[in-house]
């Protein structure tokens, strides 16, 4: 998923079980492939960090924190058009914040 070029990032949007939704990824960046590739890198880092925090919050039973982090994950995923990174039961629609 991590790519250095926009071309690679774009090609990964074309599969049927895709992580990224092509329109969702390219619309916010105005078709800028280089920026899209940079965003994918940022997203991978941020998503990993949020998942770590989410696991810790679950382990400690912090329900409000769990809710906030889950919303945040959803928001970030939808911002970059990556609904495929969310659990299948995630409510469709807007993200957090």
């Amino acid at each position: 998923m991590k790519s250095d070029t926009g071309q690679e990032g774009a090609s990964q949007c074309s599969g049927s079980s895709q992580v990224f939704d092509r329109d969702g990824l390219f619309a916010p960046v105005g078709g800028d492939l280089e920026l899209a590739a940079e965003l994918i890198g940022l997203f991978v880092e941020e998503d990993a960090r949020l998942l770590d925090e989410l696991r810790a919050a679950i382990a400690q039973g912090e329900s409000r924190r769990i809710e906030a982090l889950a919303h945040r994950r959803k928001g970030t995923a939808l911002t970059i058009g990556a609904p495929g990174t969310l659990p299948p039961w995630t409510t469709p629609g807007r993200g957090s914040g």
Binding site: P28, E38, T76, R94, S96
Partner: protein, 311 residues
């Protein structure tokens, strides 16, 4: 134009930053509400701000409320960014002080249009402030000489009397009048008289301390408020001003005129005298200066004695 982007999601922050830079904005970034607040309160702060609703530290709506409570001028255009599109949330956001509202995921075209609308509002506000400041200046200044007008100098006197009362300090007042000014107008014409008054205003301003105030109260009559000056020092300043005026010609080169002034001095300590009484004292002293031959300084009552002169 500078724009603040307060957004804790690094992905969205980068998207916003990339678009804004491409559109020619100078972008300042914050990842939490505390940093955003600090940036918006700093000198030369961005006047356009995109604030995420949910921010660590201080949330977007609270940030909007704080900025509006401070009533900063010039105005800051605040655009709230949120996923909450329901009417209730929109109302809450706008009531907190936001000017506009953008729902995620953002559409760059919509963002740009909303920022342009914000810029139009800021530009309009700048124009209104400029006009207001021009009117304010005109309402308080004498258009011919550029010094305070009658109302403004009397206000300055009242204000300084209150301060003198509070601090038990001295206050000096000078009433200055151009000698034989009617003769200047009659023999050299009104343009020459105007040039003399303009020149006099400039010289008086130049000869005083930054916190002294000078105003034109009548045709050729000026009032000068001297905070912290007792009678002796007010009289010294008056003498210096009189000598400076008498030593050089005034007006334009084509009708340079020798002009003198007479000055009446009054002073008090602790603001114990009403403004109109102090003005009458200075005026009485000015009358004595005129009656005693003009181009003179007189004090009424006599200024406080210098320490070595005290009994």
């Amino acid at each position: 134009m500078k724009v603040l982007v307060a957004e804790d999601d690094p992905v969205l922050q980068r998207i916003l930053e990339a678009h804004l830079r491409r559109w020619g904005y100078e972008v300042t970034l914050a990842r939490n509400g505390l940093d955003a607040s600090r940036i918006l309160e700093s000198p030369d702060a961005p006047r356009l701000a995109i604030l995420d609703w949910i921010l660590p530290g201080i949330e977007g709506p609270e940030l909007c409320r704080r900025i509006r409570q401070q009533g900063n001028e010039p105005y800051t255009f605040l655009l709230l960014l949120t996923a909450r599109s329901e009417t209730e949330a929109v109302i809450k956001g706008l009531e907190s002080g936001a000017d506009d509202y953008l729902v995620k995921p953002i559409d760059p075209h919509e963002l740009r249009a909303r920022l342009q609308a914000g810029e139009r509002i800021l530009e309009l506000q700048d124009q209104l402030i400029a006009v207001r400041e021009r009117f304010r200046y005109q309402a308080m200044h004498d258009s011919l000489t550029g010094v305070w007008n009658r109302g403004a100098i009397l206000e300055a006197l009242a204000r300084e009397l209150v301060r003198a009362r509070r601090e038990d300090s001295h206050l000096g007042l000078l009433m200055l009048d151009v000698d034989h000014f009617k003769r200047v107008n009659d023999t050299s014409g009104h343009p020459a008289g105007d040039a003399v008054l303009r020149d006099l205003g400039r010289r008086l301003r130049g000869g005083l301390r930054a916190y002294d105030a000078v105003g034109r109260v009548g045709g050729e009559e000026f009032l000068i408020v001297l905070p912290g000056c007792n009678g002796s020092s007010a009289r010294s300043i008056a003498e210096r001003l009189r000598a400076a005026v008498a030593s050089q010609t005034m007006g334009r080169p084509e009708f340079a005129l020798g002009v003198t002034v007479s000055i009446g001095v009054a002073a008090c300590q602790g603001g114990c005298i009403e403004a109109n009484v102090l003005v009458r004292m200075a005026d009485a002293a000015l009358f004595r200066a005129k009656r005693s031959g003009r181009n003179r300084v007189e004090a009424d009552p006599e200024p406080d004695p210098l320490p070595h002169q005290a009994a």
